[in-house]
Assembly symmetry: C2
Homo-oligomer: 104 residues x 2
């Protein structure tokens, strides 16, 4: 569940969202498909996701350019539009450079 990221530095895309409840089947299927698609993109390092009505998803990328490329993948653009129009009351995306990490 915890992403097996390499030694920093690398890029983290922090997506946090307040969900509108409903349409959960389409949402869950889309989320699963996007996860599989992201895993095949160049520079993908891992993804972590938690929560339901308040959701946090963090995807990890080798470089900022890889993160930008993923944002522009067609299926991802379509999901972003569905998210803005149907699924999320509010959302925020923050792009960050990971500088150090530790844990067990």
């Amino acid at each position: 569940m915890i992403a097996a990221t390499p030694e920093p530095p690398y890029v983290a895309v922090l997506f946090t969202a307040e969900r509108i409840v409903g349409d959960d089947e389409v949402y869950d299927r889309t989320a699963e498909e996007l996860r599989a698609l992201a895993a095949r993109q160049p520079g993908f390092l891992g993804v972590e996701s938690a929560g339901a009505t308040f959701e946090i998803t963090i995807s990890y990328w080798s470089t900022d350019e890889h993160a930008r490329q993923w944002k522009q993948v067609a299926e991802h653009l379509a999901a972003q539009r569905l998210g803005r129009e149907h699924w999320y009351r509010h959302y925020r995306v923050r792009v960050a450079q990971v500088r150090r990490d530790y844990g067990t």
Copy 2:
């Protein structure tokens, strides 16, 4: 729920953990106390948390030095020890510099 962070740059501390279920009352009370304590620290910008058995908590800080100070606050050190010894199977902390953000 989404933290009202200022314009980047600022620092994000990404905490992701695989929880051991049990002892939830102490855990929940400690989490609530830490959240209130963090909000009174210098440089605190906000916190977002989601999930249960897999938890993601992101705290936001003005500078890396503020994030380091929070790590050393006594009550927080005590909670970190409880986490390592009782609550978490695995956890990872990643410290990152937020460079840009967008959303609605």
